[in-house]
Symmetry: C3
Subunit: 377 residues, 3 copies
């Protein structure tokens, strides 16, 4: 009998209903990345975040600005209007807005009416990223922006990129949380066959989820073998996939040459900030910043790694797009069955679902999610 | 605080709910323009009006015809069938319809069944336009077709054009009613900076709305300066935007050279019939007939003005399309805030809303629409 | 008055509500054609049938396989995965499925959980076709596959083709059942003017519907005149359109030269299996197998007939697409009026509606469908 058994099916549907997916409303009260620093410039740029159209620019003194991209008068897109100093002049009837979003001029009348304006969104610029708060403005506390010192540190060399991902940000978080997919989706790039079978440990805390995996001994794919010089089947590849917030996932990998005595081993570390900003429920701005803590001045190595990595990340975009297409046209009530290695990502999705509902996340239950499926683990 | 204030927001939402917009059902009992005279020819043409697919043609004796574009038998489009004399032979099973829409032959049987037919729509041809009545046929009174003698008069020279406008016909009427947008949307064509600040008067009557504006002294843009010869900042530009019916908006502009003594001033007059026939709620057949009462024989002037004007009208199409795109994906309950110069267009939209509901329009209240917003006027 | 009369309209709407159309749910418990034999190969192919995405392949020993095209774990399309022997290895996390759809390996854990799998669909290969059962597996009885010996017989020469038809499979059955359309839709190919007026007989049985038509004397179009050599207006063209099942329509045509004495006449027979497999409610996999029982070895004749026929079938695809487009945007409650020659197809559509509802088809009533319309017949 090839169908999932009735018991598995029932358990899967109950479990699924508690997990965030492509239909789950956004988590509003959270800091997201609105763009790279250079996306805020002296011209008007349109970007949709959490389903809202925004217009982005930078003031003459250099402050980033994000406003609702719709004139309060007759809904003309401000992103198609004129940036005049630190104000936007609507391209339809000339209403002028300042950087706070207040309308300060209506050309057809001598005085501007009181109280007209468009919504302004709190922004905080940190190193290469500009963070935005889309939720209740009273809750916008810059202290809650995830601290990632390496993004601004001179001890790291970085490169960055962007993908328009036609899939839910939830699916991207889950992709990153279970890197067993490296052996399959990335078989042609940075995956190796032994990756999926390596031992792992899950850390499941309140709003913080980590999957730790150690592959040893292993052969590094070129993207890591070339920069580290660790070739042949003598490497240790130690990876932490860390869900930092709904807006940020950081993957940290350390590489060691296990031929060397333990005290002589040099640790090469790379970090990748995977930054999924929801555009709509089923599309995502996928910002990426990659860094390494070695060979800091080697620009050709930066280019080599960037090219190799972004080829692999494009495989994720492609794969997640394919899944989104499947789900969008699935006839039956959709359900998915989780296996043992999904424990961290399932906990993460339960957390996102709870955040979305505005409910306080409850502690992760002690028992694993789909008990009967762990039998084989 | 950049949000619209709570009081303004509340007033705007209440006001908006009484105004026609992109979601308001069509006004059925009205004469619309189905096409230019030449759109009705000896071949079958498909056109959708008020959401209905029609087939248009002209009989051998020259009468325009509009029928439902769907064979009553198996829904084959008659516009893809054969025009045979004054009949249409369906391209699927050969049912033959006369110009009244009656089925007069079913090839597979010797006698045609009684009572089969497709709906025929009353048409009236007047000069360059063919008017159609989509509503209750018993109410089709040609006497209600707007009288615009200049459209057929030898005292005027005309040119005409068409745009497929991907926006509501309501938005086009509103665009025409508030020409302060000339200074912004048409800054590169026929707008001038002083236009938006010029004094205006609104005439608000039952189903008839006019915005009168006098810009003086002003500099005419080339489209008017060239034909009139009034160059330099010595012109008076007097414009009436007149909502004639849901199907017709006429803009009349008069140009005078104010350097001359009043009794010596020659008045140059142009008229533009802006004809928005709804295709769907959010797309519009935008027919335009432009005319002037001077230099009647100057064909190069006709070409020059046509080219200049239609470049400007394309800016309207572009701008209204942009707004439609914004509204189509607005997350919040949409609302817009009106200012003092919107008084006539707001009254017009209230009238269209009432007509759509089939209710008798009530007289415009004496107080302006959004009182607190007029404070600055 | 050109509208359908109120009585006709009322009768049409009542009649229509009992007939299958583009909105009627699929008939699930039925054998459909999943593809030509060669569509099942040693690579993974995606195909949607009755709204479900399937992955098709052939095992090493040659058996065709159809599975749900969605990994049970995280919904990755199996059709974008890897075929490894007789198993599919999911392209995301490496779950391995056998040809029965059972998951037999989860790489991240030593033992595979029990009870995971994807649905497997019963298939039966018969000559050029592979049949699939999408309904209740317990009802899958290969004895119900329509018997069409000519499809596998050495006494027939065949050619085959495929169209992606953007219309309901119901409309294709109806198209085939009423060949009066040959005179109009196929006027340029295999229709002749006399076809629509020829006498016909309808056979209406429980789930079996035939329209028999004899056109005599007639002139054969080139596609039949060339192979049979019957030129001039001396032919008899005898055609049976037979609804065999929701999945199969067979048209059989016999050609005779009526100049010859009856006992000397040679009968040339062609058969066309029109195979409409619903992809969605409004799109259809249109498989076609055409055969003849004469000039079996003449390959240039096969090519000639294939080219002529598929040009004509493309006219059907085009016409049915046009109708689907009309119906998709019809404003009014759609209705269609049937005429006398529709009796068999109306009975067939009533049967499909009943099958769809899961109700037992009731015997066709003795009285014709739309009595008042037969007045003219």
């Amino acid at each position: 009998m090839s169908l999932p058994s009735a018991g598995v099916l029932r358990a899967a549907k109950v479990a699924n209903s508690a997990l965030a997916d492509r239909t789950t409303p956004f988590v509003q009260d959270e800091w997201y990345v609105a763009g790279f620093a250079e996306d805020f410039a002296r011209s008007l740029r349109k970007r949709k975040i959490l389903g809202r159209n925004l217009v982005l620019f930078r003031t003459e003194s250099g402050l980033p600005v994000a406003l609702d991209d719709r004139c309060a008068h007759r809904s003309f897109p401000l992103s198609r209007s004129t940036l005049d100093g630190d104000t936007i002049v609507c391209g339809y009837h000339g209403l002028r807005y300042n950087a706070q979003g207040n309308c300060i001029e209506v050309p057809s009348q001598p005085k501007c009416p009181r109280g007209i304006g468009v919504r302004n969104f709190p922004l905080v610029e940190r190193g290469p990223l500009v963070w935005i708060w889309m939720g209740d403005p009273d809750q916008a506390d810059a202290g809650r922006i995830p601290d990632q010192a390496w993004l601004g540190s001179g001890d790291w060399t970085r490169s960055q990129g962007y993908f328009a991902l036609p899939a839910s940000y939830v699916s991207l978080h889950e992709n990153l949380m279970d890197l067993t997919h490296l052996s399959y989706l990335h078989a042609a790039t940075f995956g190796t066959a032994d990756y999926a079978k390596a031992p792992y440990e899950a850390t499941i805390e309140d709003g913080h989820f980590v999957l730790h995996r150690r592959v040893e001994p292993t052969t590094l794919p070129p993207v890591w073998a070339e920069p580290t010089g660790i070739k042949g089947n003598t490497a240790a590849r130690i990876v932490d996939s860390e869900f930092v917030s709904p807006a940020l996932h950081v993957v940290t990998a350390r590489f060691l040459d296990t031929r060397l005595p333990e005290q002589e081993r040099r640790e090469f570390m790379i970090k990748t900030a995977h930054i999924p900003t929801p555009e709509t429920l089923t599309s995502t701005h996928y910002f990426i910043v990659h860094g390494r803590n070695f060979a800091l001045q080697d620009e050709s190595m930066t280019r080599f790694m960037h090219e190799q990595l972004f080829t692999a990340f494009a495989e994720d975009v492609d794969g997640l797009s394919a899944i989104e297409a499947v789900l969008a046209e699935t006839v039956d009530e959709p359900f998915e069955i989780s296996v043992a290695s999904d424990r961290a990502s399932v906990a993460m999705r339960r957390y996102l679902k709870q955040r979305s509902d505005g409910r306080t996340p409850t502690p992760e239950p002690a028992e694993p999610v789909a008990t009967d499926l762990d039998a084989g683990a």
